[in-house]
């Protein structure tokens, strides 16, 4: 039973492609678990498809835009080339991709435990990226997107994460197991938002480790001069 969901505004912004790709990753992962939010998003998508792709307005706007844009007279010709290119794309390209997907390893392993990732995260996880461990907390970096850093976080059973505040924003989606903090107990699919006004000390219980996705503002990366020496400190886990 999922108790913590993204706000309606967040779902709307996800559906309309207005989120940063980091936040979108967290929302899409929640949707893999939550049929209620999925249904809501599907409804919004149908409305948006209507507005952007079907309504006559969207076309007249487009024609206006093209009329204004006389500097690019061949933009539709460019689309003609595009059509030819696509029609020449062999379907076997797609079949090769499918075979690759079938042979791809489908499980994640950490601390001698195996997990199956939700659909959204399967393609983001790179098995060759090393897990880093700090007193019962293991992290695996998925990537940095639009100033957000996405990590997989594995917390061993009976582990207390030291109390901490977030620089500005952290979203956690529980993937497996269970986690609790001052606000409550979280289960797979739960979507937890924390900002810099909140401190928390998450913990796992006995015999129940927790795997989650965290998306947070990426720490500053220094690329020049003496400030580079500070990088090890900005790359701590939180």
């Amino acid at each position: 039973m999922i108790n913590f969901h993204p706000s309606d505004r967040l779902l709307e912004n996800y559906a309309s492609a207005e989120l940063s790709s980091g936040l979108a990753l967290a929302v899409a992962t929640h949707l893999d678990y939550c049929p209620i939010c999925r249904q809501h998003v599907e409804q919004i998508e149908a409305e948006l498809a209507q507005a952007h792709l079907l309504d006559q307005d969207s076309m007249s706007e487009l024609l206006l835009a093209q009329a204004d844009n006389t500097a690019e007279p061949d933009s539709l010709a460019g689309m003609g080339n595009m059509l030819d290119q696509i029609l020449q794309t062999d379907i076997s390209v797609d079949e090769a991709e499918q075979t690759k997907a079938v042979t791809q390893h489908h499980l994640l392993e950490v601390n001698q435990q195996k997990y199956s990732l939700p659909r959204t995260l399967k393609s983001f996880y790179q098995p060759d990226v090393r897990w880093r461990k700090l007193s019962g907390v293991h992290t695996n970096k998925l990537g940095e997107y639009d100033d957000f850093r996405a990590n997989l976080l594995y917390i061993e059973a009976e582990t207390h994460v030291p109390k901490h505040t977030h620089k500005s924003l952290e979203i956690t989606v529980v993937l497996a197991g269970s986690l609790c903090d001052e606000q409550g107990q979280y289960y797979p699919g739960d979507f937890i938002v924390l900002d810099n006004s909140m401190t928390h000390s998450p913990a796992t219980q006995s015999e129940q480790a927790c795997l989650c996705l965290t998306v947070m503002d990426a720490p500053v990366q220094f690329t020049e001069g003496a400030a580079r020496l500070l990088n090890p400190f900005t790359q701590l886990m939180y």
Binding site: H5, S7, D8, R9, L10, N13, S16, A17, L19, S20, S21, A28, D32, Y33, Q43, E45, A46, L48, A49, Q50, H52, L53, L54, S58, M59, E61, L62, S75, M79, M82, L83, I86, L87, T89, I91, V93, D94, V102, T103, L107, K114, Y115, S116, P118, R119, T120, S123, F124, G143, E144, Y145, D146, D147, L169, A176, P188, G189, F191, V193, D195
Partner: protein, 211 residues
Amino acid sequence: MDILGQDSLNLKRQTNSIQTQMTESESPDWATLLHRVAEKRDKAAYTRLFNYFAPRLKSFGLKLLKQEALALEMVQETMLNVWLKAHLFNPEKGAASTWIYTIARNVRYDILRKISSKKEDNIAEELWPVIVESDDQESEFTELENLLLQGQLDNFYRFVPELQLEVIQLVYLDEKSHQEVAELLEIPLGTVKSRIRLGLIKLQQAMEQTV
């Protein structure tokens, strides 16, 4: 920052007349054209889809991405997916235009991700799951799969028919790929997939009955 608030006071759902909108405006039957592309690689059908949707996608892309080149990349990527993956469109789940919109939306996130990812991350070409799968139901079992992998479902194995349990154990405990299991047991890949699915449903039912 208030879009991140988790209370649902700010909801303004406009659920008015979505159903009617969806049926009345799909006047050229886009779903049928998609079906023809999937079944016969029908270039004429695809061309009609392209001529209608590509300019609209470009206009949508310009609004979102602001740059002509990026908008065109979004159109190309989206329409290529429509050509290659038309067989994944499921008309029972929604309108053709919604399916195409969703692909475009995911392509947009993929483009954003590529722009912002650092080069040294050495990422694959396309990571965002662009396609809305119709036949692949695997995500509904993620929670169950994880309980299974953690050994928390051993008590329920007795509720699963032998043939299904065999395949489930090979896939989840011995970590064989579906293809490897098919070869090992000399059964078709489709049978492997359906045995897994039926077995997982059995496990889920057994578990729910005891909770």
